[in-house]
């Protein structure tokens, strides 16, 4: 193939050279112009063929690269990217999923500002995030530091700490429902018999103002193992020499943590906090299964943003309104991510 092309290029080049010779002998100005035009066209042809070969080699490389990406990207574009764009548009419409779409401008967002159920969902979500993020971070860091030491059965402890994370919510919330059962559960039984809490003062873990606390407690228990692994990875990146140097300077365990471990883990902590915050804003399944009663309906005291998105979309088919709530969720996540990145930049500066 390439030889064939090379031969053609050579042929065209000799043709052009012949024309040049003719050109020198020619006196008629019109003939001269014609010959020049022909020569140029032949030369153009030759360069095109030459470039084509180059382009096709480059094109082949591009094609190979794209062929690696395509299987994933096509699925990703169709099932994720398009819906993402669609979500932004929907928030500004009144759509019920079947009738023609009508645009509503900012009406959905205006309505949200006075929607008491939405405001309760927003407040509850924020309380949950503010409670859960620092607690989980501290618990997972503490666990990681302990499990990074050379202790017996370390692998076993690490594995066990990860169990709650891999366990399904449906199964594990059923157990929690029993353990924290207000009248029959072992936790309240302990409070009653060991700590002498009066029968009528026993906490009702899954209702009223206590429910957000129970959600937080459960989340810390379920997710600390996961963030522990991330912290373990971070701890393994700290060089042993730093600790040796610290030891020579007479630093105690706490000082080593305070002045070596903690600063060295800054990037990890940053990552953990960002991920935790984003994940906490997404809370839904936990709330529905832990506090949702039999039918999975949430009371005002336990409602969260994603529940309100779900309810508006799939119970009332108010798709525009639901997407507006989704945009609020997105804006919050974006805001927190941006703030945290700014903060990180400042720290590094």
């Amino acid at each position: 193939m390439n030889e064939k092309k090379a031969a053609r290029v050579k042929k065209l080049e000799t043709e052009a050279a012949e024309l040049m010779q003719k050109l020198q002998g020619e006196t008629d100005i019109r003939q001269k112009q014609k010959l020049i035009a022909r020569r140029d066209s032949i030369q153009r042809k030759a360069t095109t063929i030459k470039n084509n070969r180059l382009i096709s080699r480059e094109a082949k490389r591009q094609l190979i690269a794209y062929s690696f990406i395509a299987p994933n990207f096509i699925g990703f574009a169709v099932f994720t990217l398009i819906p993402v764009v669609f979500a932004f548009i929907l928030a500004f419409t009144n759509w019920d999923g079947s009738n023609p779409i009508s645009f509503a401008g900012f009406a959905n967002f205006k309505a949200l500002a006075t929607d008491t159920f939405f405001l309760a969902a927003l407040k509850n979500t924020l309380i949950y995030v503010i409670g859960t993020v620092p607690l989980t971070m501290v618990a997972s860091l503490a666990l990681a530091v302990v499990l990074n030491q050379k202790i017996r059965a370390r692998g076993l402890f690490r594995t066990v700490a990860f169990f709650p994370y891999v366990a399904s919510l449906v199964a594990i919330t059923a157990v929690w429902g029993m353990i924290f059962h207000p009248s029959k559960g072992p936790v309240n039984y302990l409070l009653l018999t060991v700590f002498g809490v009066a029968q009528q003062e026993l906490p009702k873990w899954f209702s009223g103002s206590l429910v957000l606390f129970t959600l937080t407690l459960f989340s810390v228990w379920k997710y600390m193992g996961y963030y522990m692994v991330i912290y373990l990875a971070g701890l393994q990146g700290i060089s042993a020499e730093l600790y040796e140097a610290g030891g020579l300077d007479g630093a105690n365990t706490w000082q080593k943590f305070r002045f070596i471990t903690w600063p060295q883990l800054r990037a990890t902590t940053f990552f953990v906090v960002v991920m935790l915050t984003i994940n906490c804003f997404k809370v839904y399944d936990i709330a529905v299964m832990l506090a949702g009663g039999g039918d999975g309906k949430l009371s005002t005291s336990a409602t969260v943003l994603v529940y309100y998105i779900y309810q508006n979309a799939f119970n009332y088919w108010k798709l525009g309104y639901s997407s507006a709530v989704a945009m609020v969720l997105f804006a919050l996540v974006l805001l927190i991510t941006v703030i945290q990145f700014r903060y990180e930049k400042k720290l590094n500066a």
Binding site: I64, N72, P83, Q149, V160, V170, M178, V229, K282, Y284
Partner: protein, 266 residues
């Protein structure tokens, strides 16, 4: 001292699971007997484990979930590692723009676009089909990002040397990159398997016919229907946990290494 702390933490982590196992072989009356509390009742009710298969179509739920999870996990590891190889080791037009599209959606909660996604799938005639769940979960941005981070850590010289030896890109991927990526692949498998197996909201939205439901939906339905049958509910829960725990135990020795080397540490 360390061991006391560890013991307490481990107890907090594991007691709910032991409670679950214990309750799964008890009668309803025995479950809440605290004084005296026994872990293994005198006459274990093993038939709780038999009843759950007849009270609800548990076998069907398990089959659906196994099929779904295996297909999603396979698609996920192959398409992700494929794309990741290209992003990490090849040059092409619009590379940064395409990769940015992946990154941007990682930060975006799925719940933000789950509604339009559902509408779109419905218009494609995919609702109430397991295929919808596969499409939903098989092409995550997270997988591509994770594998790319791992491949970026493998020296380019390795690929260059193979190219000079006349290997084409497909063979470099299959013979060099894939065998090297065990930790990252294990991590991705654990995440994908666990998430798909345990997913509740996705199937809740898409799967309406009982014969198409997954184990989480089935279990949840079961809890609703037999809310006082604690022994049965716990037996069902144990059954639903066994596969994920097994997969995790098989792959966990690569797990920390995988998380460490894929830049998940930030």
């Amino acid at each position: 001292m360390v061991y006391i702390i560890l013991f307490i933490i481990t107890a907090i982590m594991i007691v709910p699971f032991l409670w679950m196992l214990s309750a799964s072989i008890k009668t309803n009356r025995e479950v809440f007997v605290m004084d005296p509390f026994v872990w293994i009742p005198e006459i274990p009710k093993w038939d709780n484990y038999i009843k759950i298969w007849t009270k609800i179509p548990l076998l069907k739920f398990v089959q659906n979930t196994v099929l779904l999870t295996i297909v999603v996990t396979l698609l996920q590891i192959f398409t992700s590692s494929f794309a990741a190889y290209s992003f990490a080791k090849l040059e092409f037009k619009n590379k940064n723009a395409l990769f940015f599209a992946y990154i941007a959606t990682i930060a975006m909660p799925w719940q933000v676009y789950m509604v339009p996604q559902f509408i779109m799938m419905r218009s494609m005639g995919l609702n109430d089909k397991l295929l919808a769940m596969i499409c939903l979960q098989a092409f995550s941005a997270f997988g591509v990002f994770m594998m790319k981070q791992f491949y970026a850590g493998i020296p380019d010289d390795l690929c260059e040397a193979a190219r000079i030896d006349g290997m084409n890109e497909y063979r470099i991927y299959a013979r060099i990159m894939l065998p090297l990526s065990k930790p990252a692949l294990s991590t991705l498998i654990i995440f994908t398997f666990v998430n798909t197996w345990n997913d509740y909201l996705g199937p809740l939205i898409y799967l309406k016919t009982e014969t198409k439901k997954t184990i989480q939906l089935g279990l949840r339905m079961f809890i609703g229907q037999y809310s006082a049958e604690y022994g049965l509910i716990m037996a069902g829960s144990v059954v639903s946990l066994v596969p994920v725990i097994l997969v995790f135990l098989c792959l966990q020795k690569y797990f920390v290494e995988g998380v460490a080397s894929t830049g998940l540490k930030g």
